[in-house]
């Protein structure tokens, strides 16, 4: 690899544009390191976001060469082509400045999908016995390690086309909660994912499952919700 690369970085808000920097390449260097290097050495005003730097917090995701990725865990060898790199803020979210987006809608939808626990017991009750190998638990476990990085959300064109669409991460969370033996309001979940922004809008584009850095499968979770909601409609008329 060359000892330098040309990095185009998005500047400004939605109406901004790319600016190009020359960045020295290093042996162990992630895309996040590239961005930080520019801020620390070339342009003090560059804005980006990160926290954990090890792929746990999901706050560093950006578009790298047009594909959404977690940048703290993306080695530049994986993405640099012809000594060039293009870095932009995540798609499908409002841009605050440069590489930082406003993730509020993403989380509003998470809650709107009822992606939260509906308790069936309290802190005074014992911990519920749950067989880790039971089919429901397996389904719930499949999506539980989501770090809400919004990579899937920004890869999905249905999100882009339909502002009401809850999106893959929120729906996957709803599916996880739905399969949790401890959850007490499954009807509420099905209801909230069956509306005009719900799971039935998913066209199985598959980008969500392809790009999820944790190899989760929101597409399959959404199919699960479609099934469950239809079954419930057929069985009970709701």
């Amino acid at each position: 690899m060359n000892s330098e690369m040309k990095v185009s970085v998005w500047r400004g808000d939605e109406s901004g544009g790319f600016e190009t920097f020359t960045v020295p390449t290093q042996e162990s260097q992630t895309v996040l390191d590239v961005v930080a290097w520019i801020q620390q050495n070339q342009d003090y005003s560059l804005t980006y976001r990160y926290a954990c730097r090890v792929g746990m917090c999901g706050s560093c995701a950006m578009m790298v060469n047009g594909k959404p990725r977690w940048t703290c865990r993306t080695h530049i060898n994986k993405v640099v082509v012809d000594n060039k790199l293009e870095i932009a803020p995540l798609r499908n979210l409002p841009v605050i400045k440069d590489l930082a987006t406003d993730m509020d809608v993403f989380f509003d939808k998470w809650i709107a999908a009822e992606g939260l626990h509906h308790p069936s017991s309290t802190r005074d009750d014992p911990i519920e016995m749950i067989d880790p190998e039971s089919p429901n638990r397996q389904q719930a476990n499949a999506g539980i390690e989501c770090i809400n990085c919004a990579v899937c959300y920004s890869s999905c064109d249905t999100v882009n086309n339909n502002p009401d669409y809850l999106g893959p991460a929120a729906l996957q969370r709803a599916w996880t909660v739905y399969n949790d033996a401890k959850d007490n309001d499954k009807d509420k979940i099905l209801k909230s994912v069956s509306g005009s922004g719900g799971c039935h809008n998913c066209h199985t584009q598959g980008s969500c499952s392809l790009y999820c850095p944790n190899e989760l499968k929101p597409m399959e979770a959404i199919a699960g919700l479609k099934r469950a909601s239809i079954m419930s409609l057929l069985k009970r008329g709701k």
Binding site: Q29, T30, T47, I111, H117, P119, I127, M129, E145, D180
Partner: protein, 587 residues
Amino acid sequence: MSIIGNIERTDTDILILGSGGAGMFAALHASQKAPAGTRITIAVKGLLGKCGCTRMVQGGYNVSLGHGDTVERHFMDTINGGKWLPNQDMAWKLCEQAVVRVRELENEIGCFFDRNRDGSLHHKAFAGQTADRTVHKGDLTGIEIINRLMEQVLSRPIEKLQEHRAIGLIPSKDGAALAGVLFINMRNGKLRLVRAKTVMMGTGGGPTMYKYNTPSGDKTMDGLAMALRLGLPLRDMEMVQFHPTGLLAGEHTKMTGTVLEEGLRGAGGQLLNDTNHRFMFDYDERGERATRDVVSRGIYAEMRKSNQPEGGGVFISMSHLGPDVVRKKFSGMVKRCADSGFDLAGGLVQVVPTAHYFMGGVVVDPDTRTAMEGLYVAGEDAGGAHGSNRLGGNGVANSTVFGGVAGDVMASDVRKMNTLRDPDEAVLAAEIERAMAPLHIKPGNVQALRQELQEAMWEDVGVMRTEFGLNRGIERVHAIKQELMSTGVESGNLAFNLTWHDWLNMSSLCDVSEVIAKAALARDNSRGAHFREDYPDSGSMLDSWFTVARKQGNDIEVVREPVQFTLVKPGNTILPSHEPETLVGAN
């Protein structure tokens, strides 16, 4: 001074700083217990739930919920681990309430911790414990805890101020109580004063002034620096916990310093020096499986011996266990190393001790109250629960337990507080002035100073300390702070101006670094995480004392206060006499 008239001013009743385990639980409990109509606000330096260290918890959460374990046993382990320095009432509350908190997390918040085949909670054994006590969700326990908490907070009418960085605690006019908190709204660069009847600070400490460190990037000791400026007493400030195996990948990458999990050593991982010698047995008969502090010192000593110009670390080797086995058992770690270009399963990965957790913090009572009315502190910002060393698994227990306590206590205390207090405008003006100072001087390289500070602390106030080194460290920190005060930041656009925040980070880090060094100088013995080469002895347990530091004018004053053995004295135990010493391996 005109800026002070320009800042935004808003009010709330209960204000919470930080969205780690402490902040989230405080917000939840406050919203459950406070009288109807109480306004609750949570302000955080990053995005809600997506910053701080609780999210990064890997190993798990200590709770005595099985295998014959008891609160008493958990308590005794905590006291022994902290080498008799913990505040015993806090430690007791920690162990006792952890049981309630884990049930709350499971039953009300919706966390799912790993189960045994029979459906019961799975507990694993963390080092330094006499029972299998640690509940976990794989090795991503923190994500599970914080995500579930985040959902609950987001679904409640709790005001959130994201990317609002607290920069000053503002007392009331008479100085008797806290009036509010000064923030920078990072997104637009504007200042905002939020008045509140009660404020809980849970900004999570974070020893990121060391060359190698594990915490999330947003943590820079802001809370402790603010408390220091307010004149509050801070305890155990010399106690910095190093994790023995941080990844070493070069100075230019943020991957450096991040934790390679404890389990690697537990499973038989070997530490080799640059001559391929497995050195840990030279230091301790338990070899790589010795406690964190011992292994950290072993590695540090080895690094000093080899004296490589590059400052290289030592190597962790797993391949003798069979690369495929390693790949399967530690898939997360193997992938993470691969992402920075290293082969953990088959090759050698360079590691160094890395600053991990800060035991020191604001002096609080077991109800999280501080010396100042209206201010509560919980989580890593609070001192006392761990004493000189924190057991693995007690960190997140501490932040969630005391965060919840703070929420409950504030919810009841606000009932007695009828009005908001008026801020001391002079302090407010001074805090604004302090934060804006770098914007008026010639811009310079803040990052270079951060590196200098991290070198200085690593070399002189690090894993092994001496009087000479500590004094030199203090001087170096002073010089760096001075340099910082004459280093400016480009002020053209204050919206999301990270370099301005880097500057403010440095300011907090310098202030607290000085306190760490001075407290370390005051402790002329070696306890827990604090090791003095010139005083290797631990001192008399019965006469144990802890350091209390506070700001006096421009100086830091450090005094010793005796530990009150309110529940158990050194040499004794509260375990019934028939109890075995350890339950690990018994079942």
